[in-house]
Symmetry: C2
Subunit: 679 residues, 2 copies
């Protein structure tokens, strides 16, 4: 017998190979996923494997201790220089000498799966556009006068089956010295566009490159820019960071920025410059934090809403401010980061923007769709990305719909009397005792409740400064559950509710949560105006969801996924008491965390994900809330807490809302309105 049975785990792939066949060769012939950057030269160590020994009854094989060849000099040298974990071998050096079972550890797999730490624990497959290749290039020869670049292309074709390459002038400039420094052995970073065209050489290093290879997943929001620095070889998030979007000085929300561009000639150019500079500064800060050189950052995937998308690309967003909300371009965009004038990455770095779904439903919504993949769901799932604008997806494997709804900034604590950004000192959780009507709460930066010992000391530093977005939602829902607010949203008087905390404020009332005025602190209340702001926001959100449900022909959703950084902090129960989302089993209301960021990471780590989301977006049916007459009807009905018409059967199984009404005949909220008209 001059050949042996080789079985690879975990794939289970098997085949017979002649004695002396390197394990890497056997793996390649069987299509086993075993990495190698140096092409079998024993220097990159990516192809490490663990041979088994003994009896494998499952496979019907007994592996002798000498089933693989002894260590050779290359392996020994590698081990002496860098050390091999005990039991590990280099797949390119160890040769098959008998029947053997070989395990490919995850770190030696090219397409290893990276498990997300989020609740849903969905796996991500590594299939990045940018990869490293080590090659040996033929030396020039006067009898065969091809260029160095053409010989590099030939080597990549021969060793890695890369059909064609191209390169920018920077790479061409460094090509000749690098080839000679490396004695004709070089590592190149190749970027494969997921659509077509030659591989692009992004960078080149002499010999085997052992530095980093990173990409950025960037969630470019109206308020914040968040970036995740990811290792393009492992998919791991090395670090994450964020900054305020410097465009805020031109307007808090999207429409005020569009107005700025309309009113000020060149205003869009200013905003474009601001966001690019901000992003560059963020990337620089991140690289410095983890000591990664700009040259090691090869790619960025950017997700954002349509206005940010246009401003980032340098397109005046004026058309997005008026019907029919025409995007300049909706498809996914691949470009050279250099085209944006950004400098904090490798000069040849590539950028990818996910496609926009519609004029109001951007690449961020596409990223949420990529992350949550409603198009593969068996049951009907509603995905809501809560922010200044809510992006709403509804669907299952048969059909996916999308819309956006202008919720305004109330959910983020803006336009709320005691509202503030989520920062230390902000009330983020609140409970109101249904009997005593007394509140207790927690603030960001402290794990104690306000009625627990030590709370005052623990919060002395930060103080208690206001209510953040998730806090105001809980507060209003708790007020409704404690009978302090009726279904119409009217706050009752002290007499009607039996608590001194409901204090008059003009012709309406406000509920006092915390009074620190004695110590120079704020007087934190929930006013009738706050309730109205939350009602407007949640009505818009609910009406959007309801519109999609109408389109699909249902009045029930099986699951609700709350996406967005904010979604992670909303209590499902409170959201449902408010009627923010349709009725559903509480256990079926989950948070997807920063789903847009996750979608960006998936697109960064996988060409297949880019194909997938481009296909999905083409198939998503867009519903434009602004022109749907039923939107207004849904909006009005959704004003009540939780709803004027729709019943909430699942909610009523766990919460009984007090049947109170504080309308004293003059028209419930009319008082408030009249007051405002006079004031």
């Amino acid at each position: 017998m001059s050949d042996a049975l080789v079985i690879f785990t975990p794939s289970g792939k098997r085949g017979r190979f002649a004695f002396g066949t390197p394990v890497l060769t056997a793996a390649r012939q069987l299509g086993v996923d075993l990495d190698s950057v140096c092409g079998g030269r024993g220097i990159c160590s990516k192809c490490q494997i663990t041979p088994g020994v003994g009896e494998y009854s499952k496979h019907g094989v007994t592996v002798a201790p000498d089933a693989l060849s002894d260590w050779n000099s290359v392996e020994q040298r590698y081990h002496d220089k860098r050390g091999l974990v005990a039991g590990r071998r280099l797949g390119c050096q160890a040769k098959v000498m008998g029947d053997v079972v070989i395990d490919v550890p995850p770190e030696s797999q090219v397409h290893r799966q990276v498990v997300r730490k989020a609740a849903t624990a969905r796996a991500m497959t590594m299939d990045p556009a940018t990869r490293l290749y080590f090659v040996e290039v033929q030396e020039p020869d006067m009898h065969e006068p091809s260029g160095d670049f053409e010989r590099l292309a030939k080597a990549l074709r021969a060793e890695w089956e890369i059909p064609e390459i191209t390169a920018g002038l920077d790479v061409l400039r460094k090509l000749q010295p690098t080839l000679r420094d490396g004695k004709w052995r070089v590592t190149v970073a190749l970027h494969k566009d997921h659509k077509a065209g030659p591989h692009r050489v992004l960078d080149i290093w002499p010999g085997l490159y052992e530095g980093g290879l990173y990409g950025l997943a960037i969630d470019l929001g109206s308020t914040t820019i968040a970036a995740h620095l990811c290792d393009l070889r492992t998919g791991e998030v090395v670090t994450s960071s964020g900054i305020m979007n410097p465009q805020i000085r031109f307007g808090e929300d999207l429409m005020s920025r569009v107005s700025y561009a309309m009113m000020n000639p060149g205003g869009d150019v200013e905003m474009t410059r601001a966001v690019r500079e901000g992003m560059d500064a963020l990337i620089t800060a991140i690289s410095e934090e983890v000591q990664v050189s700009p040259r090691e950052i090869m790619e960025a995937v950017i997700v954002c809403n349509p206005v940010m998308h246009h401003l980032f690309l340098g397109i005046d967003p004026v058309e997005l401010g008026q019907a029919p909300f025409a995007l300049a371009t909706s498809d996914a965009i691949s470009l050279d980061i250099r085209e944006l004038g950004m400098k904090a990455m490798n000069p040849a770095a590539r950028g990818y923007l996910l496609p926009c779904i519609a004029g109001h439903v951007g690449a961020d919504a596409a990223a949420v769709a990529l992350s949550e993949s409603p198009e593969t769901s068996d049951d009907l799932v509603l995905v809501v990305d809560v922010g200044t604008n809510a992006e709403i997806l509804l669907g299952d494997k048969r059909r996916v719909l999308a819309c956006s709804s202008p919720t305004g900034p109330a959910f983020e604590g803006a336009q709320i009397s005691s509202g503030q950004r989520a920062a230390p000192g902000a009330i983020e959780k609140i409970e109101i005792d249904p009997v005593t009507k007394e509140p207790r709460f927690r603030v960001i930066g402290c794990d104690l409740w306000s009625d627990e010992p030590g709370f005052d000391a623990a919060t002395a530093q930060t103080g208690i400064t206001g209510i953040c977005g998730s806090g105001i939602i809980e507060a209003v829902a708790e007020m409704r559950m404690a009978g302090l607010v009726d279904a119409s949203g009217l706050i009752g008087s002290a007499e009607q509710t039996g608590t001194w905390r409901n204090q008059p404020e003009g012709r309406t009332h406000a509920y006092l949560i915390h009074d620190a005025t004695a110590t120079g602190g704020p007087h934190i209340t929930v006013t009738q105006g706050d309730i109205r702001a939350i009602q407007l926001a949640k009505s818009a959100l609910y009406a959007g969801a309801r519109l999609l449900m109408d389109e699909i022909g249902t009045d029930h959703v099986d699951r609700v996924v709350l996406a967005g950084a904010f979604g992670a902090h909303i209590s499902s129960k409170h959201a449902m008491v408010l009627g923010m989302i349709p009725d559903a089993l509480l256990v079926n209301v989950t948070s997807a965390g920063n789903a847009a960021g996750t979608g960006a990471r998936m697109a960064l780590c996988s060409i297949a994900a880019r194909h997938a989301i481009e296909g999905t977006v083409r198939r998503i049916h867009k519903v434009e809330t602004a022109i749907e007459p039923r939107f207004q009807e849904h909006f009005v009905n959704a004003n009540a807490l939780p709803h004027a018409v729709d019943t909430f059967p699942e909610l009523s199984k766990i919460v009984t809302l007090p049947n109170v009404s504080f309308n004293t005949g003059g028209g419930e909220s009319e008082g408030g309105r009249r007051r405002r008209r006079k004031g």
Copy 2:
């Protein structure tokens, strides 16, 4: 009968069409080459045709006067506004109403042939990479929220069968306002890369664009940069201009520039900047001269030698200065002109560099090959591009070889005692009477011979200042024919030659052509050193050609083509007397003028030409003169005038060279050498 026979001339294509079929539609269905930019809307007038009337016995058809429909309102409006030549109709408006013969005039053909004005009068086919397309784009709709760019793509697909488009950020930025300005009718300039990939939108205009569409064919030489501004719609050269290459301050010839880069860190960067700035300045000057806006210039095709190629692209040429003369890249290059930091063209303008043949045989030689196409020749043709370096091609349809030979600058008048650039006042033609040994000559800027009446007055302005490159070749050849120089290149004394004009100069002699010292002018002579310089140059040229002849196994070529601006001024007979080129029938020695520039123009006007030259260059066999041992032998043998070994049978039929020898025993040129060693 409800259909009619339609015959198009000059193609002869014919078919039957239903009454009422527009002529343009009939032409498209038959594949007749009839232009249209507006897609049949009667506004671009590119589809003008001339219907015939009467009997066409050749086609067996009689055409009635009403064979085409009457003028309609669109045609009438066009005629009122701009005027139609009598007899012409708009092909998109005129409808077939009976059997008809329709002539498509050349200016209505897309692929019209442009006849070169040069002697060879070879036709050039228009097939440019950049063309204009007029389209009507669907307006945006909230129910179908695709981007404006995606709807532009859809319109181009539907109206022009353009499968896919892409665009840079500048175009995306102006897309929305342009579409709205043009009321959803726009003209786009699309660039089709000849290899693959989507069409690229270079620019966009509202409505039907009626401005210019230009490209540049640029011959980037070591000494001069010449540019031809060409109309990309007609192929016509609008204007040509040139400047000195600003790199000259870093070194006169290529090797001195390579040395400058080697000796001075950053020297290559300086030279790159200089050449790009120079080219930008040249382009600006050209545009201003003919009042073309930079935005109208969409493309540039550049041909140059390998060192210029690398310096222009920003690649250090150091490897080209030493064996094995490795090019950084040899294939053709397509790039955004913006990558070069050049600003005098449309910001989206594209550049194309022809492929280099080898480390010493550049894209300029490729352009000569494209222009002269030796690969299609039935007989064996030698193409010589004479300059500081001679590029030499030899071949026929079976096989083409190439090499370069370091002739040095003598042929351009440099290193010649009375040499100067070709400028007014320079002697460009000379004849020496074989009996009297008296010279007569002509200078640049004056059509009279020096012995004709009025010559002195006519040249009073410029003076007689020196000898240019073609002048020195004629002078040496005339001296050889008049018996003033022997076969070894030795100038005889006054006694040996019988003319006082052969005057001693040190231990050698010089022939006096013109003495203007009395009036403060120069003393113009041909010295022994001048003869030696010409001998070195012509030996290198001949040895290179001979090496290629060896490789092909022949001692005879059928035709010789002298290319290069200089080639146009060399007299075939004199070149052969000198033994610059192999013996051939004088009528078979022709000048191709600026063949490199012609090749650049061909590549500018035709995608097919780019494919052709890339294929040809891959098939050309390169011979490296530096490593061929026989080169030295050929070089030594070629030192004699015309040659020490090879016979020149064709030459001897028309010229009998005096059998003189001025070697007086001390070793002919030894005297000179010894003198130099001592000096």
